[in-house]
Subunit: 338 residues, 2 copies
DNA sequence: GTGAAAGCGCTAACAT
DNA sequence: ATGTTAGCGCTTTCAC
């Protein structure tokens, strides 16, 4: 293995100089810097991560706890991971994976000084991990919004605002009855914070706009979507607009509407709340409110890095605001003249 | 931070004794072992991963390179990851993530001695990573089967045998025309080894069984599946049986058949090649050949651990054999008496 | 602007 | 069965 000493010898300088030349933690003459860089390149030197961690108490590694739960959409999850890994690399950090169900994972990564900071995905309203994470030496960033963050930083999409935006948009078009095709019942039963916030926003805006709101929790299957659509269309005031917050069910909902002979947007307007990639991979264009999963992941990393720079700082919660992208799947309801 | 010395003091033994008591690398008296364990528990001692890596040249970490490519099914991918992470933990290892598109990832993880071994997912027929991996100090396991493994170990599902099994099963039932609903064209264009092997097995067994074989490469969309089903049913010899190797399109194929009024299995038999979880989450039972992604991931870890134990050993390739699970979606063709 | 040297916390000979 | 000790490769005072 080629060590820092080999590089130093080759460059004709002291090991510490090589270290400083590489880290930039003190000024180096241009001449020396070049010699070092050439030696590094010629020898193919790579600092030993363990030695570095031991000496500097920094690992250049972030811990990421990912869920393996029912009802969590894998596509969305992968977007989070993509955002995290990509941004972490830009900060010269790697990502160590732990799964939700591995109970001692948090303590192992942090206690063993394997990571500089921790990112917890899919944090629920009352998540037992929050209390444990708050007790750790390393900073922890939560993706999600627990009832009590206990001083930890949080990032999430503003689901409440997203639902309100969707309802307002539809109500402004003239719709007086709006349906919500929500996540599977299991997701709500877990008290997943995001589902509850979305529901809250939906109900609130429905009331404010003075329209009727109907909610169907929907499994991500053809049968489930069909049942949801049927239930909604069979209601006393059948909705003329649908908000879909269930990426897996979205294609089935579109399908079910077509089977019902309901044209989009002539008979029924449609707004999805999902990552742009999901909306754009549908067989027909669907207006959507972007769930910016990749961005949220990137922001989580940035917050972690901020905390590593400056120890102080109060707990911050960042909720990313919703943006509606109109792709023509919404219009005024059929029986209202424009 | 509580160190091994603190533990040693508390237990009244030497630091090395603590090390040995914890690793079990030499025999320890019952009495000493207990004292050490108690001290560890009382102090909440966690070995410093970096220090350990530096002293032992072992990191207890596996590197995992995951694809972020088009056409790779995320559900299947997550199953691989799940299998890998779970089995790795059973060997007391953690998993460090790199993405395919991060070019220097391999060299950074291995050169920096961040990992003991490497697992590369989604290896293609002519994958440039293979040559680079073969040159590394750490053992590398490939998930997939390149044309030339260059001395590296490989694990994969035997797609060739799976296709043959599917065709044979259907031919034995009396079908004389069999359709293959394959992956999206993009997957084949990349020379993804698994898609080619499946196609090869399909064509070979079709010939051997003396039946007609039709192939449709299919995008994972409703429209794509519909088009594929229509193309097949409009052929001069419309297939009475379908093999579907495209988890994302599977539900749409089932849907399209229903729209065509084709009963399953009365009019058309169906065999899917996909993870059991995918087959079982369909709206109706589908006979399938299990794509054991979790197991493959676990096997990859085991092979990596084997290589770490004993340096020698020739390059091994393990292809997991197919098993057909009949869930009643196959039957003799309609116009053949039993 | 550069060097010398003292650890960081652990493992693994080498002793006994 | 246990203790002593010499590093592992790096960062970071401290000194010049």
């Amino acid at each position: 293995m080629v060590t820092i000493e080999d590089v130093a010898r080759r460059a004709g300088v002291a090991p510490s100089t090589v270290s400083y030349a590489l880290s930039g933690k003190r000024s180096i003459s241009e001449r020396t810097r070049e010699r070092v860089e050439r030696a590094v390149a010629e020898l193919g030197y790579r600092p030993h991560a363990g030695a570095r961690a031991l000496a500097s108490a920094r690992t250049s590694t972030l811990g990421l706890m990912i869920p393996l739960r029912q009802g969590v959409d894998v596509n969305v999850m992968m977007q989070f991971v993509l955002g995290i890994v990509t941004r972490a690399r830009e900060f010269d950090h790697d990502v160590l994976l732990v799964t939700q169900d591995e109970d001692a994972g948090l303590e192992r990564l942090t206690g063993g000084r394997m990571v500089d900071a921790l990112i917890l995905m899919d944090v629920e309203a009352a998540d037992p991990r929050v209390g444990r994470a708050a007790r750790l030496a390393q900073p922890t960033i939560l993706i999600g919004l627990p009832d009590d963050p206990q001083g930890l930083h949080c990032v999430d999409f503003d689901f409440d605002a997203a639902a309100r935006l969707a309802v307002r948009h539809l109500a402004d078009l003239g719709h007086t009855s709006i349906g919500l095709v929500g996540p599977p019942p299991a997701v709500l039963e877990r008290h997943t914070s995001f589902a509850e916030r979305l529901l809250h926003g939906f109900r609130e805006q429905v009331e404010r706009s003075g329209v009727t709101g109907l909610v169907e929790l929907t499994p991500p299957t053809h049968a489930g979507a069909l049942a949801a659509v049927e239930a909604l269309r069979g209601a006393s005031e059948p909705p003329t607009a649908l908000v879909v917050h269930n990426e897996a069910a979205l294609p089935w909902v579109v399908d079910a509407l077509q089977m019902h002979g309901a044209g989009i947007p002539t008979d029924v307007s449609l707004v999805a709340i999902c990552p742009a990639a999901v909306a754009q991979s549908q067989s027909r264009p669907v207006s959507f409110i972007d769930l910016p999963a990749t961005t949220i992941g990137a922001v989580a990393v940035e917050m972690a890095m901020d905390r590593l720079e400056e120890q102080g700082g109060a707990a911050e919660t960042r909720l990313l605001g919703p943006v509606l992208v109109d792709q023509g799947s919404t219009a005024p309801p059929p029986h209202v003249s424009p």
